[in-house]
């Protein structure tokens, strides 16, 4: 390995049904570069380490500042955002793989539509009356707002799901991000009006009861969402819900 090159080893796959294969690349070294920059260099010069012309690597990105959630991949064995993966801090060859818990679309791009479907399942919204000007929202203390803000930054990147032993390609576990969204909307004064519906949605199969409490989700979340707190809180809320049903109905 020479000092003025960055070496990469990339797991590629032409389509959902094709078998994966590894390909090596090297790109010119630039200080302060990130993994996305390396992939862009490959687009500008799509030649692999054997000197063969190949098709540029396909991946997903947009904001390049860790706020859109697009660019998640497994880098040197760890799931994370590739836009904040600085090459100076990575061991070479830098190994890039697509996430394994979602169907691969192509190369490093995966299909995360399950995450968006789950947001529908848990009714992740505040039911407002409409967009007409009917006055201010509810008064919220700065403390409650801070709590909500910690949760509201979830960018649906999927890191927490990739790391979770419970979340599998072929099961229907909702996963930490969804639980945390339930907590978020149950916190809001208007959102809380539909608390029961939301809790209902995480009480069936694939719900909160399936969480094994391994707590690896919280370690990988790039937005530091307090996922274990959310899981514990939703656990409490659902237990209370069951209790209520048993004794007060």
């Amino acid at each position: 390995m020479s000092n003025n090159e960055i070496e990469l080893k990339i797991k590629r796959q032409d389509g959902p049904e094709s078998s994966p294969y590894w390909e090596r690349f090297s790109v010119p070294y630039k200080p302060h570069s990130n993994v996305i920059f390396c992939l862009q260099e490959i687009q500008r010069r799509p030649i692999n380490a054997d000197g063969k012309d190949v098709r540029p690597v396909v991946w997903e990105c947009n904001c390049l500042e860790e706020v859109c959630g697009s660019c998640t991949m497994v880098i040197n064995g760890k799931v994370r955002q590739s836009c904040t993966a600085l090459t100076d801090q990575l061991k070479q060859p830098i190994v890039l793989e697509p996430m394994s818990k979602f169907p691969v679309v192509r190369d490093l791009q995966v299909d995360r539509s399950r995450m968006f479907e789950n947001l529908k399942k848990v009714k992740a919204w505040v039911k407002i009356d409409g967009t007409y000007d009917i006055g201010e929202g509810p008064v919220v203390s700065q403390t409650d707002r801070n709590k909500a803000y910690d949760l509201s930054q979830c960018m649906t990147c999927g890191c927490c799901l990739e790391a979770c032993p419970q979340f599998q390609l072929n099961n229907d576990f909702l996963g930490a991000a969804s639980f945390s969204q339930v907590r978020y909307f149950n916190l809001h004064p208007t959102g809380a009006m539909n608390r029961d519906e939301r809790l209902e949605s995480v009480m069936g199969e694939g719900g909160i009861a399936d969480c094994g409490n391994a707590q690896v989700c919280v370690e990988v979340c790039p937005k530091n969402i307090p996922l274990t707190e959310s899981i514990a809180e939703i656990g409490r809320q659902t237990t209370w819900e069951i209790f209520k049903k048993l004794f007060f109905k």
């Binding site: 032409d14 302060h32 396909v58 904001c63 500042e65 947001l119 008064v139 803000y149």
Partner: protein, 646 residues
């Protein structure tokens, strides 16, 4: 008679597209949302600082009327005034709406909305949700749209690209041609109207604060189909961004809104640790040159000052193109509560902790004030008729535009935190106006001859076949970079006609070479390269619009600065003198002695320049080039005058 369900095709799911979709659904029409990627990943999530509304919660005396004045003044009086005024009057309702949706806005001790200061105003007018306001607003709207999707009123086509409008022989837009980015298939969507909410063109410049999909391609495609593109040359350069290879990450204006100070060492090549440089040896140039607005002068002014300090005075930090942005005088707790997200970004990408050391920043391409020309209709009292089908309509009937893709609200320079507002405002306005439009539509898409759709589809199919067969020796991605470098070098903060002419030649050259690109990847599945080549083609045309517009506009206005044509403001000049002068000149001959020496001459020159240049630049596609003309600006509400910020 059963009422036919109207179908509106919305391209783009940033703030503008999402807001349009909500209103379309509320008007009982069906919305089809088309976007490159899942809507909540749209570029709008990058916005950090906040959104403006003059609610005056601090008794500062702010009002929508002042917000309006600040906005048109900030835009150097190039914006039509009634739409801007209407937007500013609607702003408080928009903030209240977003608040009801659950946006985690920062709060006062009593639990109400907190506001902070931003550039170009003296009032605390900016509501904010930490340092991720755009993300929070997008999520709130996205959640509401998801709710409608859940109820079957919204259909989403994510991973689809808009290629062009379907326009019938009468010149009316009847739908859109889209490209499935997974299967590669090209098909048409029939609709009663199409809305382009496709964002800005940051990617034209090889490094900007924009996201990777911001190529301006959709708006350019409309221009190539005959739509007017307006004020293209007005590209905002944000004064403070973090230097980087792939992207210039923004350091939000809120850093200065919260007291951040810009400075350089007074001594050239002073290589001391910044913290060892005592105050009197620091040059706080914005504060010194603009005592009233200080670090919060509008962006065009701040960017030029930094440019001047670095390139003319040669005082850049370490001799490089960088100046300090200093927040180290605040406590960590204060900074984390008000600016957390953006300081994290800085630390993540530079490895330095901005709580402890001043940040190093430099201006970067940020926003396009220009965009597709759109219409409006006033209510006759200085506001907008909220039901007129003309509002937000491009010059192609039935094709609408909203958000950064259009030109309506910011004139020659946008004030911070006004863009999120204009995106949501324009989207919310577009919904009901499109509804009015569909009420008078001559026929349903089903009754339009099918050959109109077939021809449009076939045109794009053969275009993509042609792209796939390209096997020359140019790399499309490298060519894009070259184009971007040339714009960065010559169509930026300081512009000269020589360089602009040179750039037009470079663009021609790149266009020729673009015919020699290699498609690199001809596979059929999830292949981004053919799309990119088509976008590159559009970016070439858009670069021409911008450069040609800059070349013909021989004046300085807002973000467009040509030193050759700069008018020097005399000392102690007060913009109100100009109002006096205009009033007086209606009645009598004004004498030189009525004003301080030199002032009258300056005002006459200014007036002449205004009469000649205070017009929207309109580009129309003719003979492969932008044909430029000018249109009067509606300045019926406040008299345009020289800007001054000290």
């Amino acid at each position: 008679m059963v009422k036919r369900e109207k179908k509106i095709i919305i391209i783009g799911g940033g703030l503008a597209g999402l807001a349009t979709a909500l209103k379309v659904c509320e008007s009982k029409m069906k919305a089809v949302l088309v976007s490159y990627q899942p809507l909540k990943r749209s570029h709008s999530v990058c916005a950090q600082g906040g959104i403006n509304a003059a609610i005056d919660t601090k008794g500062e005396g702010d009002s929508p009327e002042i917000h309006f004045y600040d906005t048109v003044k900030g835009g150097d009086f190039l914006a039509h005034q009634p739409p801007v005024r209407d937007m500013c009057y609607q702003a408080p309702a928009i903030i209240r709406l977003m608040d009801r949706m659950g946006v985690a806005f920062n709060r006062t001790p009593e639990g109400h909305l907190e506001f902070r200061r931003f550039g170009g105003t003296l009032f605390s007018r900016t509501a904010f949700a930490g340092a991720t306001t755009g993300q929070q607003l997008v999520y709130a709207l996205d959640e509401q749209v998801r709710r409608y999707e859940h109820d079957g009123l919204v259909e989403k086509l994510e991973w689809h690209e808009y290629l062009g409008a379907v326009i019938d022989s009468g010149g009316i837009c009847r739908g859109a041609v889209v490209h499935d980015l997974r299967t590669g298939s090209i098909f048409t969507l029939k609709g009663d109207a199409v809305v382009l909410a496709t964002g800005g063109p940051g990617q034209l410049y090889s490094r900007s604060t924009g996201s990777t999909v911001c190529t301006g391609s959709a708006a350019t495609s409309a221009y190539l189909q005959g739509a007017k593109y307006a004020n293209g040359e007005f590209i905002q350069i944000h004064p403070t961004a973090i230097p980087g290879l792939d992207k210039l990450r923004l350091m939000s204006e809120s850093a200065r809104g919260e007291g951040g100070r810009i400075w350089v060492p007074r001594k050239r090549d002073d290589d001391r640790d910044p913290l060892d440089i005592p105050d009197e040896e620091r040059y706080y140039f914005l504060e010194e040159n603009h005592p009233l607005f200080g670090n919060l002068v509008p962006r065009d002014v701040a960017s030029r000052e930094i440019h001047d300090v670095v390139y003319n005075k040669k005082l850049g930090v370490g001799g490089d193109a960088m100046v300090y942005l200093d927040l180290t005088h605040h406590t960590k707790e204060y900074l984390d509560n008000r600016l957390g997200g953006i300081l994290d970004i800085y630390e993540k990408f530079t490895g330095e902790d901005p709580h402890k050391v001043p940040m190093k920043i430099f201006p970067a391409v940020h926003y396009s004030m220009g965009g597709l020309w759109v219409d409006y209709e006033t209510d006759g009292h200085g506001m907008i008729d909220h039901r007129s089908p003309r509002n937000q309509m491009t010059s192609i009937t039935g094709l609408y535009a909203a958000g950064e893709a259009e030109y309506q609200y910011h004139g020659a320079n946008r004030l911070g935190a006004n863009s999120l507002l204009s995106c949501i405002y324009a989207g919310l306005l577009a919904g009901p106006c499109i509804h009015s439009y569909t009420q008078h539509l001559d026929k349903a898409p089903e009754d339009v001859s099918s050959s109109v759709y077939d021809d449009a589809r076939r045109h794009w199919e053969s275009r993509f076949q042609e792209i796939r067969s390209l096997n020359g020796n140019e790399n499309p991605y490298s060519l894009h970079q070259e184009l971007g470098e040339s714009l960065l070098a010559n169509v930026l903060i300081v512009r000269t006609n020589n360089k602009l002419k040179e750039t037009l030649k470079t663009i021609d050259d790149i266009e020729t070479r673009a015919k020699q690109v290699n498609c690199l990847d001809t596979s059929d599945w999830a292949n981004p390269t053919p799309s990119f080549i088509n976008q590159l083609y559009n970016m070439i045309h858009l670069s021409r619009i911008i450069t040609q517009g800059a070349l013909v506009r021989d004046e300085c206005r807002g973000a467009h600065f040509k030193p050759e044509f700069a008018l020097e403001q005399p000392d102690r000049f007060d913009p109100h003198e100009y109002i006096d002068y205009i009033e007086k000149s209606h009645y009598e001959d004004v004498a030189e002695t009525d004003f301080a020496p030199g002032h009258l001459t300056y005002m006459k020159q200014f007036e002449e320049k205004e009469n000649h240049w205070r017009k929207s630049t309109i580009a129309q596609f003719k003979n492969n080039c932008p044909d430029i003309s000018f249109e009067e600006v509606d300045a019926s509400l406040v008299t345009p005058r020289p800007r001054k910020y000290d």
